[in-house]
């Protein structure tokens, strides 16, 4: 297992993966731990006094229910942001990072096709995303009693984390594809940043701007949280959309990767 391209990538990155899992879980837990302080009449009143448009832009329309609170904090802004950064880092390094360090040559000189290397490393990104997000889910389920998060069922925590993982995989797929096509990590980082920022505002502001409503439908954030998995559980169609787009991106990157020269 550790000897395949898939297993080796995960094994080589085990420390970094553990770091991301701890970081993302810590942030998620930190927010969850504040829920008892937010769930008060005073806080409700304070939030009601904010302009509705501003709350919508921040994704905080329902900030005092458990699902609303976690959906606008742990799973709303910081969770996805951290996952996107994680995806850019792991996806950018998977092909382009190796190439920039001159390490890709020897792997590709072995009896393995470029498509195979790309596919196994993309699968490793998927496994890493799922692993990190499930650790987050397990931790939230474990603390949900003491912090009064019981309104959200364990299944819905898992469903939301799966949505987060697939959302991360889309950006991971974008990063590995851009890196494989260009051979440069900077290209991967730039594309992830652009899609992330436009996607975020497209999802949150698109519906309130006339003529730009369609932008929401193009946003990865919409397919991540639009179905409100914290309330409604698994969202098979949204999961499917994110997965398929990720696969298409990797496929496009692979077409170029298979044809181009590998840099020394």
């Amino acid at each position: 297992m550790r000897r395949s391209v898939f297993g080796k990538m995960l094994w080589d990155q085990r420390r970094s993966l553990l770091g991301w899992a701890i970081g993302i879980t810590a942030v998620g837990t930190f927010y969850a731990a504040f829920y008892p302080m937010v769930n008060t009449p005073e806080m409700r009143q304070a939030l009601e006094s904010y302009p509705q448009g501003m709350l919508e832009a921040l994704g905080m329309t329902d900030a005092t229910s458990v699902a609303g609170y976690l959906g606008s904090t742990t799973f709303g802004l910081l969770g996805p942001t951290l996952i996107i950064v994680f995806a850019a880092a792991i996806g950018g390094s998977a092909i382009a990072g190796d190439e920039e360090q001159g390490r890709l040559d020897l792997v590709l000189a072995h009896p393995i096709s470029r498509w195979n290397v790309l596919a196994q490393r993309f699968a490793a990104i998927g496994a890493a995303m799922l692993g990190v997000c499930l650790i987050l889910a397990a931790t939230l389920i474990a603390i949900s009693g003491p912090f009064g998060l019981g309104e959200v069922s364990p299944v819905n925590f898992v469903a939301t984390s799966v949505q987060l993982a697939v959302f991360g995989l889309l950006f991971g797929g974008l990063a590995i594809a851009a890196g494989a096509a260009s051979g440069r990590r900077s290209v991967a980082f730039a594309l992830v940043a652009i899609v992330g920022v436009i996607g975020f505002f497209g999802n949150n502001l698109g519906p309130s701007i006339e003529g730009l409503e369609w932008l929401q439908r193009l946003s990865p954030f919409y397919y991540y949280s639009g179905g409100e998995p914290l309330r409604n559980g698994f969202q098979a169609i949204d999961t499917g959309v994110l997965l398929i787009v990720a696969l298409v991106l990797v496929g496009l990157g692979g077409l170029r990767f298979d044809r181009r020269d590998v840099a020394v």
Binding site: R3, D105, A109, D261
Partner: protein, 286 residues
């Protein structure tokens, strides 16, 4: 089929810069072929085309009768490659890395990695990051030889190896040759090729300047002769220094008339040959 590598009119452009300019190459089955040239002559470019890491801009190339691109993984299974710049992650041990490579190659005979490592005095349990450049190069040597491929493509294989290990490396090349493997090895250090190669190709500015057997090169070479006499002879003083090509008979018979105190003939090294070929090329160009 006797041609292990065949290239005709191979060209490669990097943007507008020319990497190869119509290179011709023929490597026969079972021979050790030294691919010589200074840095930037196109050696690494040629080798990376052979391994399908880069694609040629023009010309034809086949390995074991197949085009690198079309041959794909099945073709590369029959090749061992030692890259000019062996860059790998430092966090793993040599043993872990070699096990990974062995897996990619579909397995390696049991004990083969260990025996190669022992022969080169390489510790498989140490993290690669803490190894010296020479010790890393040993890993590169092991991974190229471990699956006993039909064709070995080695890009400057002895870089960083100390003289004892270099000698051990040359023994590995000799063993491979006896086992019927073909070795294609590039170098800008001519002495290492001189010892092990059957034929030598000299590349310059992306073209093959000369291909000769090492024996022919030696015979053609200019030897430096120094003769010391007991008594002064007509050559001013008691020392004769001259340059000799071809047969030595005439010189020896001429010397037989005198009392010779010492006679030294310095074997030419390929370094000088190399320069000779360069000079010829430059003269033609001028």
């Amino acid at each position: 089929m006797t041609e292990m590598i065949q290239a005709a009119g191979l060209t490669k452009f990097y943007g507008r810069r020319r990497g190869l300019d119509g290179l011709d190459l023929e490597v026969r089955q079972g021979e050790v072929y030294g691919f010589l040239g200074p840095n930037g002559a196109g050696k690494t470019t040629t080798i990376r085309i052979l391994l399908d890491l880069i694609r040629p801009s023009g010309g034809q190339v086949t390995l074991l009768g197949e085009v690198p691109r079309a041959g794909g993984p099945a073709l590369r299974r029959r090749i061992g490659y030692l890259p000019g710049d062996f860059a790998v992650g430092g966090g793993q041990t040599a043993g872990e890395l070699l096990a990974h490579y062995a897996h990619l190659r579909g397995g390696v005979a049991t004990g083969r990695i260990r025996s190669l490592a022992d022969g080169l005095d390489l510790d498989l349990e140490v993290r690669i990051g803490s190894l010296s450049k020479g010790n890393r190069q040993k890993i590169a040597v092991v991974q190229a030889f471990m699956h006993e491929p039909e064709l070995l493509i080695l890009d400057e294989p002895t870089t960083g190896l100390d003289p004892i290990i270099q000698q051990r490396f040359l023994e590995l090349v000799a063993e491979a040759r006896i086992a019927g493997q073909t070795v294609f090895m590039s170098s800008h250090v001519l002495s290492e090729v001189q010892q092990s190669a059957d034929r030598v190709g000299i590349v310059r500015d992306g073209r093959m300047v000369a291909v000769e057997s090492v024996d022919v090169l030696r015979a053609r070479a200019v030897r430096r002769v120094e003769v010391r006499f007991d008594a002064p002879v007509t050559v001013e003083g008691e020392v004769l220094r001259c340059r000799l090509t071809g047969r030595a008979d005439a010189l020896v018979k001429a010397l037989a008339r005198y009392d010779v105190a010492s006679l030294t003939v310095r074997e030419p090294d390929l370094e000088e040959l190399f320069l000779t070929y360069y000079r010829e090329e430059t003269d033609h160009a001028a």
